[in-house]
């Protein structure tokens, strides 16, 4: 059987195994694009993995002034967690500490949905009794007095339980530089896909993990089968010539959005061809028994 290849880069016949998550979207606006981005980057900092950050969050896209409720430049932010309670806690902590505090910011709901998460309805108490509520067009907003004027924050934002976390691509290459270049290119291309984020630093994770460890209390540890320095001593998944492996993890509001992002990513990675140094595109899974969502690379690029 011949191997599936795009421009000489092998697409390994495997699948990414992903999990259901709860997700939400908020819109942050500010007097300028720069300040909207500052608030959004601050609130999505330290949000790479639910393992220790409580939430996975990132910037979905920037919004033009005519796309926001207050006509100012904005940023759409997505947040994902394993359950509603954790998402709620992280949302309030992050908006409270990073958006409320950011000069000129305002915060609006970015998702409809029957189930709601508290936003302004909890943060309003910062106003110490001077907060004011306004219902405009059927939506409730809180005006919280702050030192640069007022922090306008919508009462609630929507929640989806159909979100999916852990869509991923593994990129194997003969040279470190080629893998980093291909992944950087892929993250940039995937940023254009709506409803998804790549929560790791610059969208890339170099320390893929497996569940468990030889040490008690260590819930995740290095994915030794993909560590190039351990090829000699473990049941390795890597051909001898592979110098580096990097992973792109994708969270999305829906499963189709993840599939689309993976497709865009695969094509962007393979765009450099085998000549660039990338040898294989693979995906991480746990044998298929843990996560209900299976994204088969072969089907995704079909």
């Amino acid at each position: 059987m011949s191997k599936l290849k795009i421009k000489g880069v092998e697409i390994v016949e495997t699948f990414a195994e992903a999990f259901p998550m709860v997700g939400t979207r908020i819109i942050i606006t500010a007097p300028s694009r720069e300040w909207a981005l500052i608030a959004a980057r601050t609130m999505t900092g330290f949000a790479t993995s639910v393992i220790a950050c409580g939430v996975e969050a990132g910037i979905e896209r920037e919004l033009k002034p005519d796309e926001t409720l207050d006509g100012r430049p904005g940023v759409a932010v997505l947040l994902f967690a394993m359950d509603t309670g954790k998402l709620q806690k992280q949302l309030l902590n992050r908006v409270g500490q990073c958006v409320l505090t950011s000069p000129g910011s305002a915060c609006f709901a970015g998702l409809e949905g029957e189930k709601k998460l508290k936003l302004g309805s909890a943060l309003r108490f910062f106003g110490d009794g001077w907060q004011m509520s306004k219902v405009i067009g059927g939506r409730r907003f809180w005006r919280v007095p702050v030192m640069d004027g007022e922090f306008v924050c919508e009462d609630k934002t929507g929640l989806t339980k159909k979100a999916v976390g852990g869509g991923n691509l593994l990129v194997l290459g003969r040279s470190y530089g080629s893998v980093l270049a291909a992944c950087t290119r892929a993250v940039k291309a995937m940023a254009e896909v709506p409803e998804v984020i790549t929560p790791f630093p610059g969208g890339i994770v170099r320390s893929g993990s497996k569940v468990g460890s030889k040490y008690k209390g260590q819930i995740a540890s290095t994915n030794h089968a993909y560590c190039p320095t351990l090829k000699a001593v473990v049941d390795t998944a890597l051909p001898l010539e592979v110098e580096a492996v990097m992973e792109i993890v994708i969270d999305g509001l829906t499963a189709p959005a993840i599939a689309k992002a993976m497709r865009v990513g695969i094509h962007a990675i393979a765009a450099g061809g085998a000549a660039e140094g990338v040898t294989q595109i693979s995906a991480g899974n746990y044998g298929g028994n843990l996560g209900p969502h299976h994204f088969h690379l072969k089907e995704i690029i079909a």
Binding site: L69, D70, M132, K134, I136, F141, R143, G149, V152
Partner: protein
């Protein structure tokens, strides 16, 4: 299906109570049953058929043509559907309505939108006293929805209003926003004396400083209000012809009561 139309054929000899003419109350009635509905308010009985000529068949969309200032309670308690009025309206236009939409080409009498809870009223002309205010026998004014007035509003506009939005293009009489509990009044043009009298919470947005400012209001100076941007964009989206900027002078009061309300005088 064309809108069920009521054309005034005979000038009424008494004030009329047109509250039966709402989509929810006419649903399922035959033309003859509608014509037999009593709308008189005196000892002399008057039915719909005595005054109006009926046309059309869609009771979800009503049209009233040629009404005058004696036609009271048009669209009172309206829950859904539309009422288009080509003419004037008497008292209680859309009072206590919960949903749906009323459009009036002329002017309305007192209590227009009084105690309304939802829906929208659009009046091209003027309104009498207590628009969006407290209907006789009630304790609260408007509790939701949107009331747009193209002309001038009378005194006591939005009295004891709790929620909702009133937009007036042509100024208002004395005591605008009196005893307001919450909600938003936006008034372009001149406003009479003692605006915001007894204001507890809520916002009066004024294009001009009122003539006699209550001494129980304090000044916070001219500031930028981002929520005014949200409001303006929402008004534009709903087709309202108002333009304003987000800078305003914020006066807070009425300190004689709770004092958490505001008068925003647009800069």
């Amino acid at each position: 299906m064309t809108a069920l139309t009521f054309k005034l054929a005979t000038k009424p000899n008494q004030r009329l109570d047109l509250s039966p003419l709402t989509p929810q109350r006419l649903a399922g009635l035959s033309p003859s049953e509608i014509e037999a509905l009593p709308i008189g308010t005196s000892r002399e009985p008057v039915t719909v058929g005595d005054i109006f000529k009926l046309k059309g068949n869609d009771a979800a969309k009503l049209r009233l043509v040629g009404t005058d200032a004696r036609c009271d309670r048009i669209g009172q308690d309206l829950a859904e559907g539309e009422i288009d009025v080509d003419g004037d309206a008497g008292a209680y236009l859309g009072a206590a309505m919960r949903g749906g939409e009323i459009r009036l080409s002329g002017s309305a009498g007192p209590f227009a939108g009084g105690g309304m809870k939802g829906g929208a009223i659009e009046i091209a002309g003027d309104v009498g006293e207590r628009a969006g205010g407290v209907v006789v026998g009630e304790t609260f004014g408007m509790r939701g929805g949107r009331l747009s007035i193209g002309g001038k509003a009378g005194p006591m506009l939005g009295e004891r209003m709790r929620r909702g939005l009133v937009v007036v293009q042509g100024g208002a009489g004395d005591y605008a926003g009196a005893r307001m509990i919450a909600g938003t009044l936006l008034i372009k043009g001149r406003v009479g004396r003692w605006a915001g009298y007894g204001l507890r919470r809520g916002s009066l947005i004024l294009s001009k400083e009122p003539k006699d400012l209550l001494p129980t209001f304090g000044d916070s100076g001219v500031l930028d209000f981002n929520w005014l941007r949200v409001l303006e964009r929402n008004l534009h989206a709903t087709g309202a012809h108002v333009k304003f900027r987000s800078r305003a002078r914020r006066l807070m009061g009425d300190m004689a009561v709770l004092g958490k309300g505001e008068m925003l005088i647009l800069a």
